[in-house]
Symmetry: D5
Subunit: 95 residues, 10 copies
């Protein structure tokens, strides 16, 4: 099942720089892992912002919440989830 996910990251400016670098590296590792698992279908950069737009494909809400809250920067991220359905004009959904 598909979910549109908007993430806006704002680490506090007085976060220890080494801790911050570790979190950023761990976030990237986790993102790559979830993409390889086929859970995180699309991941785009919002131009000019420390933010992203993603599409996740996850069978249940509990799993989606587990994936999102497992992100190392989650504590500093505003997350907005929008459930997606098949669009009647989607070319792949035509009979």
């Amino acid at each position: 099942m598909l979910f549109h996910v908007r993430m806006d990251v704002s680490p506090p400016h007085d976060l220890d720089p080494q801790r911050r670098a570790e979190l950023v590296r761990a976030e990237k590792d986790r993102a790559l892992e979830l993409q390889k698992m086929g859970v995180w279908l699309h991941l785009w950069q919002v131009v000019g912002q420390y933010g992203s737009i993603s599409v996740f494909d996850v069978p249940t809400h509990d799993e989606l919440h587990a994936f999102l809250s497992s992100l190392p920067l989650w504590e500093f991220t505003r997350v907005e989830v929008t459930p997606l359905a098949t669009h009647p004009s989607d070319v792949a959904a035509q009979p």
Copy 2:
């Protein structure tokens, strides 16, 4: 170049029903056409709303505006365009 496009459609309730049906049919035809051209990459339904989330792949802003404003229901659609870039954690962008 990729663009995230949010569309919310609200045809006036006193639109002639036949005119409305024609516009909806034409909108679908145009959407299928743009998808077949490779311009309209993704098209999802926002659950519960008369609205969609899309990703377009278009080389210039002039062409994107021409495509969007050519949609038969454009007059009744609120459109929000967000430019997308390659995300540093996108698995397809790793060296």
Copy 3:
């Protein structure tokens, strides 16, 4: 899977009164039907408003969208869907 659904209804004031009465009656019939099917788990009135807060239990986004957009007053309803997961402090989810 659970979804929180906020609905705000605003039929246009110049809608034919008989048509309006029919839509309201049909909306109620459909709501009762979906509740009996076990799809529409909770339905509450927002005090003072022509609006409701509901919880739906539906296996897929496509089905949820089909249910919501099948409501006779859907054309005049602003719908906001929020996916719900199990809360770690939910008494029913304790080991």
Copy 4:
């Protein structure tokens, strides 16, 4: 009497980690207690966020305020309360 309660928690990032862990544990204990008392009817996780949606059943406003402000994380929680009434299409309210 039923109340819809939206809670969004944002503990300051520089809160002492041990203090934070204690507050989170105490919050869970209090939530379980209020659920067992029959006061906190429903408790759901908002997917992707450190937030919840609940329904409380409390006879008076003073008691509801006492319950909510007794939550250990209350100081760091944005709370929005919406009073709920019986919906005319609620299947349980039909004659």
Copy 5:
């Protein structure tokens, strides 16, 4: 139990003037009646607007919704209800 109620009235400009006058008169009659019943405790005009701020004293949410939705102009009124509790610094609540 006390409720703070904000009401903003906006009758459509093309409402039949005689119908409008009747609704305004009936709204006033109903407001006076509810005040005499002791249900509508306070009623103030918001300066410069077609709007009011009120405090209701009603034992249940179902009754409050019944009172508010019985107002003749309700269809054209945006209503916002906020539950009120005893304030710890209220002079009348001191021991």
Copy 6:
């Protein structure tokens, strides 16, 4: 002259606890004093929030500002003032 006053208090979490307790106590003393003076007519708790809704009766804007800014927690309080007039449907204002 009547004024509707919404106050939302948010003391910084790293305020010295003793200083905070003193401010809260002083705020209560000042609130009781202004109520006894007949200046602060009504004071209600907003359920679930560190916030209040009040009605003040003060002859001039300068005095109202002096009263509000004299509150010990004023520095940490968002204040919204709305001037109130006699409502034409107020039962006490009927001829």
Copy 7:
């Protein structure tokens, strides 16, 4: 006593043009009259908008509401009133 008043006018586009012209003329007459009475101290045009920013000097809220609601275009005007006090840095208020 001084009040800051923001007015945004939006007459419906299908208002009879002659009726509209009459209302605009009457609004101007009333504005001039209130200025001559010393009630309407300042009246400025918001550049690019059908809107104004004003300062009124009126002894009571009831009178201010009466003046504002007597404006011929009031029905089509969004009005926002902000009470003003003497500023401690106002050069005219220095001892």
Copy 8:
């Protein structure tokens, strides 16, 4: 003096189509005229919307308001004006 101007046009859908076409044509003529006069420095299309972003160079506020309110579609246009100054990092403003 420079002004940033955001314009969002929304002609009512039931405007007579011939009247609408005339207004659109007249709006274009006026825009070209003001550009040739050197008053309207930049005019860009907001992609996907019936809206524009402009920069005007006009000596006084009265003249700017006169230019903007002379636009044939002004009645159907939301206009937001932001005054611009020389930026300290503007390459043209370096000594």
Copy 9:
């Protein structure tokens, strides 16, 4: 040329109290100076808030920006500037 200026001041609560007192004093001195120069025409207190509404009369945007950003508390002030023009109903602008 006239400009409407809304200022909301929020010095951080952990600012050194002596530094804060100095800034407040310097802000007042600068405000008095600009009023005496005829640049700062009106300065009013927003009742209940640490905020003001002003009207400036300045020939250019560069000068207005220089004046506003020279205010000692500017770093802690949200500033909103609205250009004002002569209103057609201003009594002083009648022929």
Copy 10:
């Protein structure tokens, strides 16, 4: 391709003053460099604010994101990007 860019800068007040001065100087250097490269077409100061409005001319979204996120103050800047197209009434675009 043209992009409208709104930037609002808010460095934390407890940033080391020397570090802040360095960042401001480096930001200016980078801005001048990008203007000389022909990438940053226009740069205006928003009057009264620590903010700017710019137009960039960049061939791809990846390059625009790289430029914007290379700004030394980017971490403390809210950035909003709007894609611009040729306006049909732009005098330079007439046949």
